[in-house]
Subunit: 153 residues, 2 copies
DNA sequence: ACATTTTGACTATCTCTGACTATTATTATA
DNA sequence: TATAATAATAGTCAGAGATAGTCAAAATGT
């Protein structure tokens, strides 16, 4: 466990926990802190903070450049979503659905545009072609499906 | 750390919101305010206020010269969407729907997460509760509804 | 032996700067 | 008044500076 990469990994994960899910660093600065070449930071990120492991990485070069790492699933947001998904029964009304969606917005799990899409997809207007007695069933399925897609990214 | 360009960008966007869609500045004055060379203003404008991002820029040199930036209510995207919406018939298969959604992604009209939500909402999996012979009708209605919601924001 | 980690040379991208150019308005002059 | 000179702006572009990315070789670990 004396590997530098592991140490850097732990350091970043610690920051991510502190910052509640996200961290932004400067590659050179971090390399300097750990006395290694900058490209080692890339190595750590590409081996430890992959999408499969639930991280989303963004970066920018040039003056004021940065690397940001976000923890996407597994934890908080993903767990919360999975919890919600299982708590949604087999049927849901348009109103209840909107309440849920507004909650996701409040919890910063989705963006405003994403919320609008979800509401549009689960509105009675969109489901007009579904027999009224089946509508809430279909709505629940659509909502759950959309939420499931959010647990991945 | 925060790039000057970003700071100037935010400043201008703030003004645009205040002034409800348009702002007029003098290049030298603004450069002076942010302690940079005037050409940096051009840099900010050419990288952040492009037509693709929904802005229309006009300017004039000479005494009393100015640069004006207008938020051109991304009607281009909105128009394109409306056009697509009307071109979608009353029925659409999951595959065709995905092709459309991928196109929106390519045209930068929606984000990757938004695309995922849309695909989830229009998948056969989500519409399992809809009688097979009605499924493509419902899918078309849902897709159109989601797209409509994108035209306003 | 094979896999993983570390390193560094080279590349790519973004930002900032300044010298030079272009355009428009104003003032002076014929 | 028409024209020329001057002042006041904005535009362009290439180079310098500041970061981050890539990839393969060397080192190290198992």
């Amino acid at each position: 466990m004396a590997r530098l990469s592991d140490i850097i990994e732990d350091f970043l994960k610690g920051l991510i926990i502190e910052e509640e899910g996200t961290v932004e660093i400067q590659r050179n600065e971090l390399a300097n802190k750990f006395n290694c070449v900058p490209s080692q930071i890339n190595y750590v990120i590409s081996t430890r903070f992959t999408a499969e492991k639930g991280y989303y990485v963004e970066s920018r070069r040039g003056g004021g450049g940065y690397i940001s790492i976000k923890r996407v699933n597994s934890d908080s947001a993903g767990d919360y979503l999975m919890h919600i998904i299982t708590s949604i029964g087999d049927r849901i009304s348009q109103l209840t659905s909107e309440v849920f969606i507004n909650n996701f917005l409040d919890y910063n799990i989705i963006e405003i545009r994403e919320a609008m899409i979800m509401k549009a997809a689960t509105s009675d207007k969109a489901l007009i072609g579904v027999p009224a007695d089946k509508r809430d069933d279909v709505r629940a399925a659509i909502l759950k499906n959309m939420l499931m897609s959010m647990t991945v990214l």
